[in-house]
Assembly symmetry: C2
Homo-oligomer: 524 residues x 2
Amino acid sequence: MVPEGKLLSVLMLVISCVGFGQTGKLLVLPMDGSHWIGVKALAEEMAQRGHDVVVVIPEVSILLGPSKNCTTKAFSVPYTKDLIENMMNNDLMILNNEQTFLETTIFLLNAISNYNNILKVTGESLFYNQELMSYLRGKQFDALLTDPAWPIGPILGEHLEVPSVYMLRGLPCGLDFKVTACPAPPSFVPRIFTHYSDRMTFPQRTINILVSLVEPLLCKFVCSILDELATRFLQREVTIAEIFKNASVWLTRLDYTFEYPRPLMPNMVMIGGIHCAVRNALPQELETFVNKSGDHGFVVFTLGSMVSQIPEEKAQLFLEAFRQIPQRVLWRYTGPTPANLPQNVKLMKWLPQNDLLGHPKARAFMTHGGTHGLYEGICNGVPMVMMPLFGDQGDNVQRMVTRGVGEVLNIHYTTSEEVVWALNKVINDTSYKEKIQKLSAIHKDRPIEPLDLAVHWTEFVMRHKGAEHLRPAAHNLNWFQYHSLDVIGLLLSVVAIVIAATVKSCTFCFRKCCRRKTQKKKKE
Amino acid sequence: MVPEGKLLSVLMLVISCVGFGQTGKLLVLPMDGSHWIGVKALAEEMAQRGHDVVVVIPEVSILLGPSKNCTTKAFSVPYTKDLIENMMNNDLMILNNEQTFLETTIFLLNAISNYNNILKVTGESLFYNQELMSYLRGKQFDALLTDPAWPIGPILGEHLEVPSVYMLRGLPCGLDFKVTACPAPPSFVPRIFTHYSDRMTFPQRTINILVSLVEPLLCKFVCSILDELATRFLQREVTIAEIFKNASVWLTRLDYTFEYPRPLMPNMVMIGGIHCAVRNALPQELETFVNKSGDHGFVVFTLGSMVSQIPEEKAQLFLEAFRQIPQRVLWRYTGPTPANLPQNVKLMKWLPQNDLLGHPKARAFMTHGGTHGLYEGICNGVPMVMMPLFGDQGDNVQRMVTRGVGEVLNIHYTTSEEVVWALNKVINDTSYKEKIQKLSAIHKDRPIEPLDLAVHWTEFVMRHKGAEHLRPAAHNLNWFQYHSLDVIGLLLSVVAIVIAATVKSCTFCFRKCCRRKTQKKKKE
């Protein structure tokens, strides 16, 4: 018999140091750019709830910076902000009509190479910063919140032996499906960069399967530099995919008003639209500007944090379009003010995008199709004109088009007339507004807010030192076993042997019979 | 430009008649037996929240009856309670050691046949009850809550054209995977009745695949009588599987403290342990009995609602065991009181099981391994001695054994000594209590209570007339397309043609070369 006192202590042990209502220590290693938005919202909420949150960032970055109530630890890196800004300015290139396919390919390969180099150098700057590393080791964190698209976090988590919570939109080459052991039947789960919907024709399904067959090879190519970094720092042979498999919970920026319905694994938690809840009043100047737009309302225009400035010629094209519409336009634009700026256009270096889209006079949202922006569009029920630039944006905008809540333009070849046509269409054809309002109502009709859900699962991982009960047994199988290819091979062999034996026996019997008959005939 | 007033009306239209905070009309068609527990909890909670809930039940049943704040509509059936009770008494048979394999098989086939006949007769009694049907048609319900294991509900839902919410544990022969288009890789998702865990050996994986290959045939056999009923009543050629595919939301009695981690589809909502929250104080008499058990505490013993009475010989075996333990025992037992009832045993026709297991002096739970009972064991953190009888119970208890929270006995061949051994083991070996407490802590550490989750999704379906955004495109594919067999066939053909062409060309070239050389040699 177990005395009740002992049972109580067992229970206390289980709930461990981060019990219900108690607070713990969370390490945050975010990625720069728009990826920071969701992580920041969660980190600040965790700090708000009394947890000791330490955010580790490089001294040089585009958007990263201190966050409310968190301790920020910046580490020095051997590059300057100019270098990143120069890299960013290359983005201008992709808005240039004159590029050939070869030039675009070279540009993309260059971009990946630059990204990987920055990643490697930043990782080395952190991992070999003895003072900071010894501080981090000493803190004995309960969990790590990070972004697998910036794999320095996962490698650090592995080194500190801290259970990890990942926040992400998705990983290239289907790596997120692979490392979570999540089935993604290519018959209705379109692969990244294909721009397909979940309703594919036979040729599309064929290409989708071919892409899913090529993905593992691409993964090997993309991850090799990271595998080397992880192996060197952790001082054991390890791949980045193996590290990713150890993540306790994956907070994915999905929602079925955006993503097509597909299977998910138990440790994948959908938090699409996590940042929409973060709202502030508009600054007085902006409030006045949008209120003066009258019944026509206003348009919000931004191409995301990665592209702030566009070629003069392209800018003139948009201005020419805006001159022809009755709406006012708020444009996130950091370049020099173009000549002949129309009266109805206001350029701003930074836009409170979500707050503007939440304004009742917001009529349309011109966006490049990043997930954060699209969720803000859905959340606030504003129809969209989308101009995808790179990465997953082509896929993202396709999802919105299939739902009839926006129009897509090709930013490389669009004209003023086309921009005017698209804006007039999404603003004046009520079906766009009706559909996005319906999508918005569904998106917001959920049992729990995504931010609260993210907080719950982060605290869960802190309380229980991981989420072992959500880990599928599939992680103990290799890909051959996972797809039951060994069993199928055995069964096919058995069938083949049985067929062969049957045929052999029948042939043998048949020959025997024939021989007897022939002999009989001969005798006769 | 759309005027704001119009937009508001569009929004109101979207939220439709069951807006946030508004109430609607819910039709409930429950299944008898333990399946009623979860459905009843949800129906009563919906009524409590102000919805107009109508529960339709046959006049004759075992457990079904009026539920708080709901309107109950009973329809007459051409059988008596005696018939069902006689069928139930057959359960005694399966506790008899003397049965041969043939007898058991005949018994099971008989049970399925009886079940299907009762189902058919009950369906006919409802569908051709003109008065009740015209009442149900007139009510214009917003949604139907039902149990697919009792397919009268889904057929009625199809007739009334009402979006459906299903509550279930699982369906035989993998039908639930099939109709939800949910991947269930046989390499780590054990099939029903195999009693395998998610970590299978190669031979187990082979059998698991074979079972999954046979399942569709079994489905055809089990469903044929239901297909006939549905086709006759709906007056169009339809199968029960096609009807199931239309369900908006599947409330599954799963939880990963019980089930092994596996993929789920977006419209599958986990509500395992939904009924544990329903709690009442113990009646005074019971409270006194269990409090007098001292430090030793007490054991709860029940074989579920389907088996209330067991053979005298078997009863004596248990009593002999209970005589040897220091704990008091509460036993749900409806037969005549056996001779020599030990002082520490109390027989009761009905037990407040969940309330008893929640008592701090509960030391062990002897159960047949039904899901409701197991969730109550997990929820209250009480180690278990399990004796599976039939159905999914063999699989259920296996899940508990792999987690080290209980022991399994074979009820057909167990002895008093074994029962004493098992009880002493789970009570005195602290590892069982530690593990079930840990499981309990994880089970209860969730972002939202399962009952609230079930209410949310039922209300969601009422508000939005279904949950179309969660419906996977896989429903538009046949099984051949779903598994991409057409594309794989094409690709293999292309590969075969390329190989054949290459071999042919090589052979041709080789021959040409050889011939030239031979001719040359001949000339020489």
